[in-house]
């Protein structure tokens, strides 16, 4: 073995001191002290899921659909026809795309129906599949009212168009009631894993995600609708953006060392982009409320910011699985804090434990 290999010897002195130094971001450096840890040749300890990039799109589209259903139902009740139509279309499109990506990433997609064999509260993937299955048809039916007038007359005469139109509103309301679950369960999907940066975010991530869902759907609402109908969408988007940014700040602080991946590499780029786009979009939406163009651009920025947030969280989790530091250091601290040994249950309160 060559001399310079020594640093990689597990348990050797080189390994202990191996830390990743970053030139930038002085403030985080204060919160996160340099980590000392030992590992097995720096090999990962936990495994990242075999999901590709499109799962990040799935997270975004689910949020977009959920928020849009709320927007559609509200617009229906408040009498905003343009907003209602666009939001219903976005909701169905979003959920369809979301389902496509979900099935697409399965190793055996032809067995998707096995997902509906059981309902398990311990499995967010199971709960989520059920939520989507319950929500999807109603989101689809809600669109009926918008489609009926567009049908060729021949076809329209043979369909129960009257019934379809009348079912739209109740269906839209049911979809809106299920929608918040569609937007928030994806947070549990990520946090109910062993990937350090996801599981450490388990308190705040649902709030980041619903905020991001509101920002995305409200933003798209702003983009697609005239000024005289965009009041609620604007408020939803700006409120969502504020929630997203605030929850994100709290989350970063409570994640400890596992917040690092959120600031590095690909995740870091998305994270910075998300903050700029969401923040600027929200400011623009407030200041530009009399300008159609400024509103549209701001809406688009908030939607893009929301997507970047999902991408950032997705990649940060994947990166945290690759570096054993994020597994060893927090677990080691927990173990040492209670004086070693395995007796986790006695030392740590159940749900309050991080």
């Amino acid at each position: 073995m060559a001399d310079d290999d020594k640093a990689d010897v597990p348990g050797g002195p080189g390994q202990r001191a191996r830390t990743r130094r970053r030139g930038r971001g002085g403030r985080e450096q204060l919160v996160v002290p340099p980590a000392e840890f030992r590992s097995y040749y720096g090999k990962p300890i936990v495994k990242a899921p075999p999901w590709k990039y499109d799962i990040a799109a799935y997270l975004f589209l689910g949020g977009l659909a959920g928020g849009s259903s709320l927007l559609a139902a509200g617009a229906d009740l408040a009498g905003l026809p343009n907003q209602r139509r666009s939001a219903r279309i976005v909701a169905l499109g979003g959920i369809t795309g979301s389902l496509y990506y979900l099935v697409h990433d399965l190793g055996r997609p032809e067995r998707f129906h096995h997902m509906l064999r059981v309902l398990k509260l311990t499995s967010p993937m199971s709960v989520g599949t059920w939520i989507l299955s319950a929500y999807g048809p109603f989101a689809g039916l809600a669109l009926g009212q918008e489609i009926v007038p567009l049908l060729p007359e021949k076809l329209a005469r043979r369909l129960p168009t009257e019934l379809i139109s009348r079912a739209s509103r109740p269906a839209g309301l049911v979809a809106a009631l299920a929608a918040p679950a569609v937007a928030s369960y994806t947070a549990v999907l990520l946090t109910d894993t062993s990937l350090p940066s996801w599981s450490a975010a388990r308190r705040e991530l649902p709030f980041v995600f619903v905020g991001s869902a509101a920002a995305a759907s409200g933003g798209v609402g702003l983009l697609l609708n005239p000024l005289d109908e965009s009041g609620p969408a604007r408020r939803l988007a700006v409120g969502g953006a504020a929630l997203e940014l605030t929850a994100d700040q709290i989350m970063q602080r409570s994640m400890g060392i596992t917040a690092e991946p959120l600031h590095e590499g690909r995740a870091g780029k998305y994270h910075r982009a998300a903050q700029v786009l969401t923040g600027a979009g929200a400011v623009g939406a407030v200041l530009g409320r009399r300008s159609r163009l400024l509103s549209a651009v701001s809406g688009l920025a908030m939607a893009a910011g929301s997507a970047c947030t999902r991408w950032a969280v997705f990649h940060a989790g994947m990166a945290s699985a690759d570096d054993p530091k994020y597994v060893v250091v927090p677990q080691r601290e927990r173990r040492d804090a209670r004086g070693g040994g395995e007796a986790y249950a006695e030392q740590v309160g159940d749900d309050r434990a991080r």
């Binding site: 190793g107 096995h114 509260l121 249950a345 309050r352």
Partner: protein, 321 residues
């Protein structure tokens, strides 16, 4: 929420018998592995026997360049993995060596391995040691992989072990990210293998167990580093062996996974290690994700209500611009 979850008939933490907890009435005693790494010689017989018996395809022939460990990690096509750790430690006198006394060897006229310092021409002991550890699925009492599987493909058997049902798994890969030990993985190739696209891991040779046989790895292990049996008995044996090692002056010797109060309720495969778990690539303090699932759903519900309330407020403030 947690109370509601337990009402569904299963426990999510604590010391339980996994077979009983999963509905087997009158199951056989819980089976498991005790891997005593202090006697492992790194021969990889377990790796090979496992591959042979379970018809596992090769997963690439590659030199890792880091040690004798070219397998590198557990995975879809590696259900036993022998870790090699090269450590600098002060040289020890031969008397302190704690390998169990061998029964009188039969001379086959072959070059034979001896203890350092035993044969007259052996070199001086050096400030160096190898640690070897044969790693495997831990067959957790509260197995995260079982908890999160959306199809029910992962289950506890009557022996308290954890298996994947190949005909049910849809390959979502969620179990992969749930396992706190990084054990289970979705098989990606070679094409034509029936289990491609399906989560794969050690079954503790379920097929052999049902026939009353010993798992292939334990059967093949020449030093009894891998011991198979009733978990209760193994835990007792392990405690005795630990005492022996500590007495012989192994300050860092420790059992890993045996304690039923740990984050996964104790594992069905546990280890005697000579250094801290992370040195072997094991997580120091793993916790089953399900322990927090009640809190997670609560947070998600709060967030959902926030979103609903926010939407209502956005409309309550008036319709137009």
């Amino acid at each position: 929420m947690s109370a509601f979850l337990s009402d569904l008939g299963r426990s999510f933490f604590g010391d339980i018998d996994p077979a009983e907890d999963n509905g087997y009435s009158d199951p056989p005693p819980r089976k498991g592995f005790f891997t005593d790494t202090s006697v492992c010689i790194g021969c990889k017989a377990c790796e090979v026997a496992c591959k042979e018996w379970n018809l596992i395809p090769e997963d690439g022939v590659e030199l890792s360049g880091m040690s004798y460990d070219n397998t590198q990690a557990l995975g879809a096509s590696t259900w036993r993995h022998v870790a090699f750790i090269e450590q600098e430690v002060p040289a020890r006198v031969a008397e302190a060596s704690v390998a169990p006394a061998p029964s009188a060897p039969v001379d086959l006229g072959m070059p034979a391995p001896t203890l350092p310092g035993d044969s007259p021409d052996a070199a001086e002991p050096t400030d160096f040691r190898w640690l070897m550890e044969s790693d495997v699925c831990k067959h957790c009492t509260h197995a995260a992989c079982v908890d999160v599987c959306p199809t029910g493909a992962l289950m506890h058997t009557e022996f308290g072990t954890v298996v994947v049902q190949n005909d049910i798994c849809n390959g979502c890969g969620y179990c992969v990210s749930a396992c706190p030990y990084g054990v289970i993985e979705r098989r990606s190739g070679p094409a034509g293998n029936p289990a491609v696209g399906i989560a794969q891991k050690c079954t503790l040779c379920y097929d052999r167990l049902t026939e009353g046989q010993t798992p292939a790895c334990a059967k093949a292990c020449p030093t009894d580093s891998i011991q198979f049996g009733d978990l209760d008995e193994l835990r007792e044996r392990a405690a005795g062996r630990l005492d022996q090692l500590v007495e012989a002056g192994e300050p860092n010797a420790q059992l890993y996974g045996h304690d039923t109060r740990n984050g996964v309720g104790g594992t069905g495969a546990f280890f005697l290690l000579l250094d801290d778990p992370e040195v072997y690539g094991l997580p120091p303090d793993p916790v089953v994700t399900t322990r927090h699932v009640g809190a997670m759903w609560r947070q998600a519900a709060l967030a959902a209500v926030t979103l609903l309330g926010g939407a209502v407020a956005a409309f309550a403030a008036g319709g137009g611009a």
